[in-house]
Symmetry: C2
Subunit: 97 residues, 2 copies
């Protein structure tokens, strides 16, 4: 199992523009055959700080996700409203492998 | 729902010392009546970077967790092996509230 945390930092005044993009990205990603979990959150202290918490069976599934039409189309549109570069963390389970 | 990401940065040479502490913390936390999910991961690029991904019904449940005997006893023992202060993020779901 591959757990992923991906964080986006969006200008607060442009949250309205990114919400439909995130909504489409979440809906289409959840339809991917190897997507186990794909959830989006916001930081309670920073409305423009968006956090994806994802679960994939393996790295190949994550790579396939990043190569999808919807990812390739929507992520650059979201990134137009960034205030800082996104970050991501690839993680292994500690006690539940 | 309250999603939490808590991150610990442990000296790599002291991972052996923290593992049994984390194991006990995870096992006892999962027995808390309001704990919905409590998972521990490590960064694939940094074995001393530990990440908890947690789900609680509300802030009161998280506060109760932080007040438990096991949290109050184990977290300071884990923190003895820190190489940098821990961080935490309290988050709201975006589309699944």
């Amino acid at each position: 199992m591959l757990k992923v945390i991906a964080q986006d930092f969006i200008h607060p005044q442009h949250i309205e523009q990114v919400m439909p993009l995130y909504q489409e990205l979440v809906a289409l990603t959840r339809q991917e055959p190897h997507c186990l979990s794909y959830e989006l959150f916001t930081n309670q202290k920073d409305a423009g700080h968006f956090i994806f918490v994802e679960l994939w069976p393996d790295r190949a599934a994550l790579d396939a996700h990043c190569a999808t039409e919807h990812f390739q189309r929507l992520v650059p549109q979201i990134d137009r409203w960034q205030r800082a570069p996104g970050t991501y963390l690839l993680m292994d389970p500690v006690f539940d492998a």
